[in-house]
């Protein structure tokens, strides 16, 4: 599908013939059918009064909702930062020649990836029941777990530590994608392990690490909605606060959903450009943008398109 974007330099037939593109009637049939279905769905959504669009509009920029977005974004950024930092450490431990270090990291990943993040959140929230006093084993240190573990810290711990398990797998795959010859060349130049990792291996691993990390970021944005069970006033919980008072459940869920879509869309666009940037020089042609693909579809699949000789717009 990419080849349509880069036209051949010499036209088919040497420019002497009119080139008629292949027609794809079934693509048009499927396109029309899907458009019809989409239209019906939109029509029903707009005409069904129970969606309460007027209330959606009223609460869309409600101060509680906007504060909720701020909390959601804050949580996403902090938890991803915790996840990435700890994930790198865990990945390096997993690849370490020390069997205890790699077993520890493996065990961490097993536990934190093997249990639902909701369960982990509840565990952190109820930490005081498990350890009423936190001493870290140091005499003289005694912290009240009930004061230390606020809903917010429980949320950051739960989401961040869980994310670290996933990030460590992503970073490990990235590190392993770098050619062994690079480590050898660095070693032959006398570069110790940590220097080799930071100067040679990780910069090259970034190309593999960045795209899935973008996915994790967008995933995290939505996973933060789980903290509503801890009464952290994120976007979803803010909507819940409002509808528990005015009982407009559906309109407020719609408000929250629209905001989630808006924020994820902004991040997705950003992620697309980030990926194109990091794939530059390594693949022959960067993946096309959505807009470019749509244009290509209409250019190729138009039943009226006959291209004489040279390709049209270039």
């Amino acid at each position: 599908m990419i080849e349509t974007i880069t036209p051949p330099s010499t036209p088919v037939g040497g420019g002497a013939f009119t080139v008629v593109s292949a027609r794809h009637p079934w693509r048009w049939a499927a396109g029309i059918m899907l458009t019809a279905i989409m239209g019906l769905l939109v029509f029903s959504a707009v005409t069904n009064p129970r969606f309460g669009w007027d209330k959606v509009a009223r609460y869309f920029r409600d101060v509680t909702v906007v504060n909720g977005i701020e909390v959601t974004l804050f949580l996403t950024v902090i938890c991803m930062a915790v996840g990435v930092a700890l994930g790198v450490v865990l990945a390096v431990m997993q690849l370490s020649p020390n069997p205890v270090a790699s077993a520890f990291a493996g065990g961490y990943v097993t536990i934190f990836r093997g249990t639902p993040v909701l369960v982990q959140l509840l565990f952190w929230f109820n930490l005081a029941a498990l350890y009423p006093e936190i001493t870290f084993g140091i005499p003289g240190v005694s912290l009240d777990a009930n004061q230390l573990i606020t809903p917010m810290t429980a949320a950051i711990l739960g989401l961040g530590l869980n994310e670290a398990a996933y990030m460590s797998e992503i970073v490990r795959a990235g590190i392993q994608s770098v050619d062994q010859g690079q480590t050898e060349a660095a070693g032959a130049l006398g570069m110790p392990r940590l220097l080799t990792l930071s100067r040679v291996v990780l910069p090259q691993a970034m190309r593999v690490i960045i795209p899935p990390t973008g996915n994790e970021f967008i995933g995290m944005l939505k996973t933060t909605s789980l903290v509503s069970v801890l009464a952290v006033p994120d976007l979803l919980y803010s909507a819940q606060i409002i509808y528990s008072k005015n009982l407009q459940v559906i309109p407020l869920l719609v408000v929250a959903s629209i905001w989630y879509i808006v924020v994820t869309t902004v991040f997705t666009v950003g992620q697309g450009y980030l990926e194109r940037r990091f794939s530059r020089g390594t693949t022959r042609s960067a993946p096309p943008t959505a807009w470019g693909r749509l244009r290509a579809f209409f250019r190729v699949h138009s039943p009226l398109a006959t291209r004489k000789g040279t390709n049209d717009e270039r």
Binding site: A186, A188, L189, G190, M191, R193, Q204
Partner: protein, 261 residues
Amino acid sequence: MSVETNADTMPLVRAEGVRKSFGPLEVLKGIDLEVERGEVVCLIGASGSGKSTFLRCVNHLEKIDGGLIRIADRVVGYHLKGDKLYEQSHNEVCAARTDIGMVFQHFNLFPHMTALENLMEAPLRVLKQPRKTVEARALKLLEQVGLAGKAKSYPRHLSGGQQQRVAIARALCMEPKLMLFDEPTSALDPELVGEVLRVMKDLARTGMTMIVVTHEMGFARDVADRVVFMHDGRILEEGPAESVITNPRHERTRAFLSAVL
């Protein structure tokens, strides 16, 4: 740390009974080899004969299972105290490698750094030399290998021959006492082999001690002081380049040479 005192008159490299196995497969079955200072030694032999493995043992990229390799007055990978060999830490191994340059078959340049950065990385961060000195030396080396204009180029914008010349300059930028070449022209298109061999020839003329694993018999004959023929993990024949290549004594050497020449 010095064990021998008359280090300057000793051979630079002395391998005694070097053995190496990969699992059940014994790749080196007792290699004895001495390389004098300023000498150029070419290791030839069929693939799988162990020549590359031996070369990698010399700078401890592979750990040997038996025997000993000394470079100048030091034992590679170990401290010799009395009759005991104490394995070196990774950092000590790294420190020892700064004296030994290595050039790989697949260049292994750092793709995210320019040619100049490739050269400067280790002298700056391992030897901790001042940037000005390193940069001046790196630029001079790039000029020597004929790539003065390519300092700012990234490896992927260079041809294979140019990349390998950058790799040689990168190794030289550490100012090594010994250079190891592991089939430096085997991954190159035929028309690019000459430019790399020319750089190596120039280097040999400066008096650098070199151990070269190669299939280029012409280079071995013209440049090497000594040619070593390896077969099945052993040294079968060694001597002056002219006599080994044009007048081999051993049946297997003759068979190998008639296949590659």
